[in-house]
């Protein structure tokens, strides 16, 4: 095993995710004990993971407001193009005298001169690349052009151009930068956004009552401010918030079914004492239970980031374990990762016989609200609100609010 191979195969990351097989893991660990560079890399990765786990929700909710380099390049190009366009317009709008000062006259203009002497003077000035304002004959000639010539030039400049707002101030420097800014803003807008008349942006998606539609992130208060739907967005954010359902270790004991005698004991005692929403294991005993126990140890200590890989390890061994799927979905929701919470919660919700099915519908609805799939959220809330209990009542209340929000303009 070499340092290059470790880097190339992302073995450090895979090791931290417990994805290496036992042989590769042993080789990697032996290498770590011998190579200080790779040891340091592992330490760095560990520290980064640790910090990001603590701030996972914050990081997921943060929007990148910085412009990447290519956007800066686009903006700079837009400024140059618009600047050039404005420069052209300026030259066309300017009085003939100013044009003459800035540019040599065109051949067509020269033909309008009154006398052959003047024409010769202009020709000489053009050929010698001398400053045209040093040619009094040229200035005089252009200044005496008939009004029709002016109107032609002005007319071409007054034609409204699509995409570039031109007004009487467009020739000024401030006007040019304003146009450039507008162009830059357009470049930054996502394809799903449209520009409102007041300069703001709105989502161009059907039935969009919220902000940030299409993103994988839950809504944050204020994200909808640009769309003029602050209140709706805030209310949806509030409806999508999740509190960790409790877990007690009597439930854990109950989930470890070892034999028929213990199972009977569970049904008599522990099973009856098991609170609503606690795990109900329908699987035979499996080594994955150890992972589950450790995961729930992390869960009750609110170390949801630590619980996730343990639950995933459990699910590799017993993929149909409803409790592991349930708490995996919950942990992902709590770490503001609703998109990934949907699949495990769906698995639990699909098992209609489980006591976890109803709470799974409830938290699945929360996940859908967070990813702004409101139609599916409604379906899940209806399923969760069908029974009795606190979660069912809450599901009905959320459903009512959701429907009210959807009817708002």
């Amino acid at each position: 095993m070499t340092c290059q191979g470790i880097d190339r195969d992302e073995q450090v990351e895979r090791y931290l995710r417990n994805e290496l097989d036992s042989v590769a893991q042993s080789e990697f660990e032996t290498h770590i004990l011998e190579c200080s560079a790779c040891l340091q890399r592992l330490e760095v990765m560990q520290a980064i993971s640790h910090d990001l786990q603590d701030r996972a929700a914050e990081v997921r909710l943060t929007q990148d407001t910085r412009m990447p380099w290519w956007k800066w390049l686009t903006a700079a190009t837009a400024v140059l193009v618009v600047g050039a366009a404005v420069g052209t317009l300026t030259s066309k709008h300017a009085p003939p005298k100013q044009i003459a000062n800035a540019n040599p006259p065109s051949t067509g203009t020269v033909t309008q001169t009154k006398t052959p002497q003047d024409a010769i003077a202009v020709k000489e000035a053009t050929q010698s690349n001398a400053a045209s304002d040093s040619q009094p004959g040229v200035n005089q000639t252009l200044a005496t052009l008939p009004p029709g010539k002016h109107s032609v030039a002005a007319g071409s400049g007054d034609q409204p151009q699509k995409g570039v707002p031109v007004d009487s101030h467009s020739a000024s420097a401030s006007g040019g930068s304003r146009i450039a800014n507008q162009a830059t803003q357009r470049a930054e807008q996502s394809p799903g956004q449209v520009v409102t008349p007041d300069g703001g942006t709105a989502q161009a998606l059907p039935g969009a009552i919220t902000a940030g539609v299409g993103s994988q992130l839950p809504l944050a208060p204020g994200e909808g401010a640009k769309n003029g739907s602050d209140e709706v967005a805030k209310e949806l954010f509030r409806l999508g918030t999740v509190k960790a359902p409790p877990y007690t270790f009597s439930g854990l004991a109950a989930s470890t079914k070892v034999d028929g005698k213990q199972s009977a004991k569970r049904e008599e005692g522990l099973g009856a004492a098991m609170p609503t929403g606690q795990p109900e294991n329908t699987q035979p005993p499996a080594p994955g239970r150890t992972y589950f126990q450790n995961a729930m140890g992390a869960y009750v200590e609110k170390r949801y980031g630590d619980a996730i890989p343990l639950l995933e390890a459990d699910l590799e061994l017993e993929p149909k374990a409803l409790d592991a799927n349930y708490y995996l979905g919950i942990c992902r929701l709590l770490l503001a990762n609703p998109a990934d919470a949907i699949a495990p919660l769906k698995t639990v919700a699909a098992s209609n016989t489980s006591a976890l099915a109803s709470p799974a519908h409830f938290y699945l609805a929360k996940a859908y609200i967070q990813v702004e799939d409101l139609d599916n959220a409604e379906v899940e809330l209806r399923a969760a609100g069908g029974g009795s209990g606190r979660l069912a009542a809450e599901a009905r209340a959320i459903l009512h609010k959701l429907q009210t929000l959807k009817t708002k303009p």
Binding site: E13, Q46, A47, V59, T62, A298
Partner: protein, 189 residues
Amino acid sequence: MEGEPTPPVGCDEVSLVERIVAGDRAAEHDLVCIYRRGILVIATARTRDREAARDLTQDVLMAVLRALREDKLREPAKLAAFIQGTANNLINSYIRTRARRPEYELNDLEITGFDPVEDLELAERQRLVRRELESFSPTDQKILLLSLVDGHSLAEVAKRLAMSHDAVRARKSRAVKKITKKFAHLSQT
């Protein structure tokens, strides 16, 4: 601060083992200095529990030293592999037998091997990492989060963030290198 552990000049694994077998206590100290950090990192990665990892590191080092004193290592050149094997056995055993203790028992736990300098070093590293990460763009932080915490492949991360695979790889590599550089600087001070 404990710097990069390096074996004494002219001391390779074989001579280190021979010195330990001969009863040289300084050699035992050298072995602890060289391998303790690596064992701790491995134990932390495997158990995801810093306190347990500390205890396990102590246990591994004790077991290795005991075996070396009794001259049980047949191939001294494979000292690292021997330490890894010992660590692997003890960590697996710990994970298998670790049972959840009731909350009220936590206060009764006796923390062994508590090292305030190590704690300070760890806190300093975490502070440094936090500061560096916060200086990164939100996109870079998301790339690291999705890759290191959520366990997505770079291709998946690229898809989620609507970026190219190469861009994601480059940004992640740059971010990790930057922090590694700071870490190296911290180790040297």
